[in-house]
Subunit: 435 residues, 2 copies
């Protein structure tokens, strides 16, 4: 079966089968074949493989650098901003960091073969739920070339094959990184297709990939909301994603004021451009006259633009008015919507109505209030007396983060490599049959 | 927001918004609203609610019976066979069984609010992974009306709202069952939309339902392969499914012959029409001359048609020849393909190539052979010295089975109510921020 290509027609209208279709389908079929070998790899073999991949990146740094220069020369053609160019740029130091990240993944605990549960039935059957890899994981991403090495190592560590589809603007860099990562595969009898790479620049490649339901198990898009929405709308393969993070901090009437100020400030200012930064601050009306002036001063000094409800604007005169749209907004910037609420219940209602179920926090010394909030707020991460900025695979101790999900299906919140596995039931008996 | 209907256009081409679209969309929006209430229900309240639902079924048995008669009178119009009519038919006894099944679900352990994991980070953060409901679950099913009560109780027990879309041939019966089940909702302040029911007979209703990505979390189709394939092809919402069960029993050279014969016979004959019945028997060549004559005689007596490979036909002269297509077949009937293999490896290769990753078994006294098989066979359930017919939520101790999945995403194998949940991370701190 190896290398066999099935000629398939896609979609409702029969289209002539072109070069891209044959190539994409072949990549997916071969990745599936590779996956069945990768699934059975011994843990120690995976560690050695990943360490060799890290070394290969370091050894090939000049070739990667040269390819990166090619991409950078074309950056103007794709309209890349200075910030985007900086994210694309690689030097020896950044390539070493990339290799170091692969080494970290190499030393994570093997997520495959864990006995998740084990129990005995009255019939004498022993049932085990044992973790297994998902199969083939397709990553569609933009810009930053370190995603290439990160995702390849995370997928291989979890016994999965990977198919990488990076942005057009980084195609030469990504290809050079994949070339390096593939070098150690042969010495472990693994096919190059273990790390699939889609190099065609045709946009239609993505459409073709998303129809490979028989070969690809999971799609993880990494990029802006527009990219993710497009993929979710096109895909017939399960997609793990988060569109946006409209995160809230609610300062309860029983909050410790020092902690409330520190947490709210951190959640907005420490890194405003990321999905777990706070976008709306909710304050109980009893504590608002004390806490808002202190926070207002700090936010002003940090250059944060505040947009408040009428009560907030009475306490902090001169700030802008918040409109209905502001409660929905993910600013990803030094802008903050502020609302004074009459109760914990109203804070929960606000979060339920406007939130994105990403990460939300309560600051309180009242245990009952904390438990009510934790129970009622249906977000992937719910914090008590801690900053929403802590919603992160590294902070949670996952070692490496595959992505963040605001879906409820399969995986939710920060995803570690354990979330790249499924399971099987192993049932051991002594001749049991169905009566 | 309650009862609000958003008028949405579906698909790429703008279509006029008709009655079905408005109705279907309304059902989905209201189910989502109901889900947020159901998610927060106390465990004891759910027990009382389900027990009342069971009583309501018993009390309304005459109305259900009358509706069932209406469906049965129209059975000819839908071309129902005698077997299908029997599956549709309800009498007092069957309605009592239905109520009893709801009571069983009522007393299952609450799958919501379980602490799946709990750990402390060096920063002092306590992280808990806590189970939560999925949201709205859409069940699309055929014929058997007990699915209506089963699925409604399973979804409500797990804090989810349900939308039921049964077959056209059972619409009156299902409506009467739903009417009864809904009666106790009001006394718990729960909306009727907690149990959504799509009564329009228009096929387009399914297409419309499958586009409700914002409101419906999960689709579970229950029915034949054609129905399931159609839904999987149409849906933009995650679908949990199994297409087919091409299950294998492999009798190893070191098998206990008595157990091998009992298991193989049970796996084929006890109930051949279900997905976990054996379709292909693999026998190691060393043991084939001993075990096949004994099994051949038993199968002959049970009326099983055997189709064998050349080696099998030398041992059992007179049986039919197995063709390549037979190894792929899910007969769901008293037909069995038989192949003699030279090794355990070849048995695994056969299962990998032709199997459906549903349920496969090895019979052996050799521990090493058992572990090799368990490791290498990538099926949802893998058995050692037990019949494939035991792949079942009841046998595994789940109390009730929601379905069986041969997917790897979210849930795999027999699904209990725990598989109708997701989780959230609850993070408790003492003022921790991101440095």
């Amino acid at each position: 079966m190896a290398g066999e290509i099935r000629f398939t027609r896609y979609g409702r209208h029969e289209t002539p089968i072109g070069y891209a279709e044959v190539t994409i389908h072949k990549i997916c079929v071969q990745a599936k074949q590779a996956a069945s070998t990768l699934a059975l790899l011994d843990s120690r073999v995976k560690v050695r493989l990943l360490l060799k991949m890290a070394r290969a990146l370091e050894r090939d740094w000049r070739a990667i650098r040269r390819s990166n220069e090619k991409d950078l020369r074309k950056a103007g053609r794709f309209g890349l901003t200075a910030a985007m160019k900086d994210r694309l740029y690689l030097d020896h130091g950044r390539i070493e960091e990339m290799a170091e990240a692969v080494r970290t993944v190499a030393h994570l605990k093997d997520p495959v073969g864990r006995v998740l549960k084990r129990w005995r039935r009255p019939s004498g059957l022993w049932i085990e739920k044992v973790s297994v890899p998902l199969g083939v994981i397709l990553i569609i991403y933009e810009s930053r070339p370190n995603v290439t090495a990160d995702c390849a190592s995370l997928c291989l560590k979890s016994g999965n094959a990977v198919i990488l589809r990076g942005g057009r603007e980084a195609v030469e860099t990504n290809r050079a990184i994949v070339d390096a990562l593939r070098k150690p595969l042969a010495s472990f009898n693994l096919p190059p297709a273990s790390i699939g790479f889609v190099k065609t620049r045709a946009y239609s490649a993505v459409n073709l990939l998303l129809k490979e339901t028989e070969n690809v198990s999971l799609v993880i898009p990494r990029g802006g909301e527009a990219l993710i929405r497009k993929i979710a709308a096109l895909s017939r393969i399960p997609v793990i994603k988060h569109y946006r993070g409209n995160c809230h901090v609610y300062i309860d009437r029983d909050a410790d004021i020092g902690k409330a100020v520190a947490i709210a400030y951190n959640a907005k200012v420490q890194r405003p451009g990321v999905c777990n930064a706070m976008e709306t601050l909710l304050v109980h009306r009893r504590i608002a006259p004390v806490v808002l002036p202190r926070l207002g001063k700090l936010f002003l000094e940090a250059g944060v633009e505040l947009r408040g409800c009428p009560v907030t604007r009475r306490i902090l005169p001169g700030i802008k008015e918040a409109r209905e749209q502001d409660w929905y907004e993910e600013y990803l910037d030094l802008i903050l919507a502020v609302r004074v609420v009459p109760s914990l219940d109203e804070a929960v209602r606000h979060i339920t109505r406007y939130g994105s179920q990403h990460s939300d926090a309560i600051v309180t010394r009242n245990k009952r209030a904390a438990e009510l909030f934790v129970h009622a707020v249906d977000s992937a991460s719910v914090f008590v007396n801690a900053s929403t900025r802590l919603a992160d695979g590294g902070v949670y101790g996952f070692g490496a983060e595959v992505g963040i999900s605001t879906d409820k299906f399969h995986a939710r919140g920060p995803m570690g490599i354990e979330d790249l596995t499924s399971y099987k039931y192993v049932v051991r008996g002594t001749g049991q049959i169905r009566e």
